[in-house]
Point group: C2
Chain length 334, copies 2
């Protein structure tokens, strides 16, 4: 019998349909993956082609060469120049599209996705996220910042070279507002942070756990909407990613890299997205909101039912998928 | 300069990014489309293969042959047998997955998508939607019904033969509850139904209009989240699709078929989803909720930003897309 499970964070139901369910292995990549080379002459993100990108706004360097570069997106979704203006006209509500759209080039090596990158380099990426997140919120026209990563064509990447993106919006997404509101309701109703309690549950039940490190825990949520959907949550209650400590940066690097490597080796390098769901520093002291990183391997498609209802049909059991990932052994030094 | 536009129905912002924008023509299908034949021996939905499907629960017939068949889905997302039970266990919230999952086979002809189907057949499809919608709500275990259609592989179809689906859920999707709530807020704040007012605006401004027929209007919403996203809205205020009159059925057939044909011929038969967003008959008298049909051509991909924020970046201007569709001339008798 299928089950409907309620995600208390999004407040949405998900249909877990074991009658349609497939063994975890069946979600492995079927499309051929192009073999990538460490350097591609025509790639604007490869070393030597720095002039092909807008001037960098941040970098981490070692001697003469860069390890990480941050540049404004050449085709930004939001304009850097201009004033944030609000126009209300009848039923029309408009805010001028000013903001930030940055690209974080994670490594000089064209073929090194984050699952393969050495651990210190992953930590550098997270340090860069933090620096640009805090810098972005200094812009008074920015209301909310999203840090995200697209891996592979089905995840919306147009450029192969490993990179993340940061968008600083002149508005707050309603989805975030709704989640803040439901987190506040939960806090009122129960008296504790929902994600702090979820961590306790996942540690106790173990069945949906992927990896516990010193400071972070990765697991497949009880009501995961898609196969292998994974959350990485800091054990210490914090509402803003910007408050991450140096010790936590290193531990998140370990947890993120290992979790992504399990997905990479277990499912043959599927396309995926991840994003950081966080309050800004201004609301960093919230007792009821808890930031987290959300990974979505793109192994299934949203169809008319999902678009029409907001609910998802997950053909895999979260507990099965988590056990599968727990058992994936990654080669050393990967 | 990009614009952020607020969708008052979903309350979500959308980034309209003309800097990234493309001419409407560039959204045309690039992938080769398989040429379909009117009859495929191995297709379980083609005439003669009725024994390959579960027994039909409804049909429209002409003499000895069927024009439309409704069957339970062979691989249902919800079980027909069993009791709806609610289990609350710590943070876990579960409802047993009982409900309805039907397939509506729209025509005996394997190759006739709804854009090509003769008008009386489209009206039969809508009559069937209404009959199954009202029948489904008679089941006391059903809380909410979604009628939807997937066209093409990128829209999640696994079977080519033209068909729609109906899912009767034992819960109400939170997304619908949120929209009901925001529609009620709007009604409180303004004193009128939001969609009734939107119809007036779209008729007056004309720039986002695709097609006005006697009883329905199709247009691209001001804050459309994806290119060519289209709504078809009844001019008469009604909260439940189940209240559609016979006159409205015929007019919706004309509006839906023509709108889909414009998308078909204008964009070279793109994959698409549509769904009907409606209250059930129990809440059919709502003065603030207004049912509509929502069409999403699958010409763009959701990436990490969309998954991480709930907001969309639409690289097309709704007004450009609407003008493009208005100007598409469809061959006669299509």
């Amino acid at each position: 019998m299928p089950e409907l499970r309620l995600n208390l964070v999004t407040r949405e139901w998900c249909i877990i349909a074991p009658e349609r369910s497939k063994r975890p292995e069946t979600f492995k990549r079927v499309k051929l993956k192009k073999e990538l080379r460490p350097f591609v002459e025509t790639c604007p993100f490869c070393p030597g082609n720095e002039a092909k990108t807008p001037p960098e706004v941040f970098s981490i360097r070692e001697g003469d060469s860069w390890k990480i570069r941050v540049i404004p997106n050449k085709f930004p979704a939001l304009a850097y120049q201009g004033e944030r203006e609000r126009i209300n006209d009848g039923l029309k509500r408009l805010v001028t599209g000013v903001g930030i759209h940055e690209v974080i080039i994670e490594t000089p090596l064209h073929h090194m996705g984050m699952a393969l990158l050495p651990l210190p380099s992953v930590a550098d990426v997270i340090r860069t996220y933090k620096a640009r997140f805090l810098q972005g919120y200094k812009d008074s026209q920015v209301d909310h910042i999203i840090i995200f990563r697209n891996h592979g064509e089905d995840a919306g990447t147009t450029l192969e070279h490993p990179h993340s993106q940061l968008i600083g919006l002149p508005v707050t997404p309603i989805q975030l507002r709704d989640r803040l509101e439901s987190a506040a309701h939960f806090y009122d109703y129960v008296g504790r942070c929902l994600l702090c309690m979820s961590i306790e549950m996942e540690k106790k039940e173990e069945s949906r756990l992927i990896l516990e490190t010193d400071q972070f825990i990765s697991f497949i949520p009880y009501a995961a909407s898609t196969p292998f959907h994974t959350w990485i949550v800091p054990k210490r209650h914090a509402a803003s990613f910007g408050d991450i400590t140096e010790e936590e940066v290193k531990d998140l690097a370990l947890n993120l890299k290992t979790t992504l490597a399990k997905i990479h080796y277990g499912l043959d390098d599927p396309d995926f997205n991840y994003s950081i769901r966080s309050n800004g520093p201004k609301n960093g002291d919230s007792e009821y909101f808890h930031w987290y990183l959300s990974i979505t391997p793109r192994v299934s498609k949203a169809a008319g039912f999902e678009l029409g209802s907001g609910m998802f049909i997950n053909p895999s059991l979260p507990e099965d998928s988590a056990r599968f990932l727990r058992e994936v052994k990654c080669p050393p030094e990967s």
